[in-house]
């Protein structure tokens, strides 16, 4: 019974394509996040949703659009993929305001060729 799951685990695509990554959590948390781990292994926040409402939006290109259909799901859609988008994308969730601990999914390795 996976707590935070992501699909797909690997994604290889060409420049210019549009792709989506899905995330689901079964922890009953109300806040979900997307993080990007770049080639230097640096993990950086991209977005945060609380009860389906966007609360954190870092300086991410408009080509990235998160969507939260309900509290248990947060998807990431990327338009017009570029080589620099190649990274590992992690979804996470937490139960605010009771705790600050965030629980991460296994990651999606995106490779743009």
């Amino acid at each position: 019974d996976t707590a935070v799951s992501q699909t797909p685990k690997y994604l290889v695509t060409q420049m210019g394509n549009d792709k989506s990554i899905k995330c689901e959590q079964n922890l009953g948390h109300d806040t979900m996040y997307w993080y990007k781990q770049d080639s230097k292994k640096f993990l950086k926040i991209m977005f945060s949703y609380n009860n389906k409402e966007l609360i954190i939006n870092e300086t991410v290109p408009n080509r990235f659009s998160p969507k939260s259909p309900d509290k248990a799901h947060l998807n990431l859609h990327i338009n017009s993929l570029e080589l620099g988008d190649s990274a590992v994308y992690f979804c996470a969730s937490s139960r605010r305001p009771e705790t600050y601990e965030q629980y991460f999914g296994p990651g999606t390795r995106l490779t743009v060729t």
Binding site: V4, T31, Y33, Y35, K40, K41, F42, L43, K44, I45, S48, N50, I55, I56, E58, F90, A92, S94, R96, P97, Y100, E101, Q102, Y103, F104, G105, P106, G107
Partner: protein, 114 residues
């Protein structure tokens, strides 16, 4: 501008000895600190956390120390076990609701030598 720094990219420790991982931060708005452990091809796993009102928190073999005046925290693992070999990330967050994004350090790769 890296607000959370882990200056040691790697650390090797003999099994059974103490592992000490260090982390420094620059943003005085950070009030909550966490350590995560990461195995290859997996997501970070939460280990232990500490709020700025404390200077120490223990959970089994793991202890986190916080020196707020020095803006420094450390993770002690004792005794170290082979399964502890992983990359350890320090993370920090402000406490104000709505801005609790985690800012991560670049990680320290810990290798436990049997």
């Amino acid at each position: 501008d890296q607000q959370v720094k882990q200056n040691s990219p790697s650390l090797s420790v003999q099994e059974g000895r103490i592992s000490i991982l260090n982390c420094d931060y620059t943003n005085s708005m950070f009030d909550y600190f966490l350590w995560y452990k990461k195995y290859p091809a997996e997501g970070p796993t939460f280990l232990i956390s500490i709020s700025s009102i404390k200077d120490k928190n223990e959970d089994g073999r793991f202890t986190v120390f916080l020196n707020k005046s020095a803006k420094h925290l450390s993770l002690h693992i004792v005794p170290s076990q082979p399964g502890d070999s992983a990359v350890y990330f320090c993370a920090a967050s402000p406490l104000n609701f709505g801005n609790e994004k985690l800012t991560f350090g670049t990680g320290t790769r810990l290798t436990i030598i049997p």
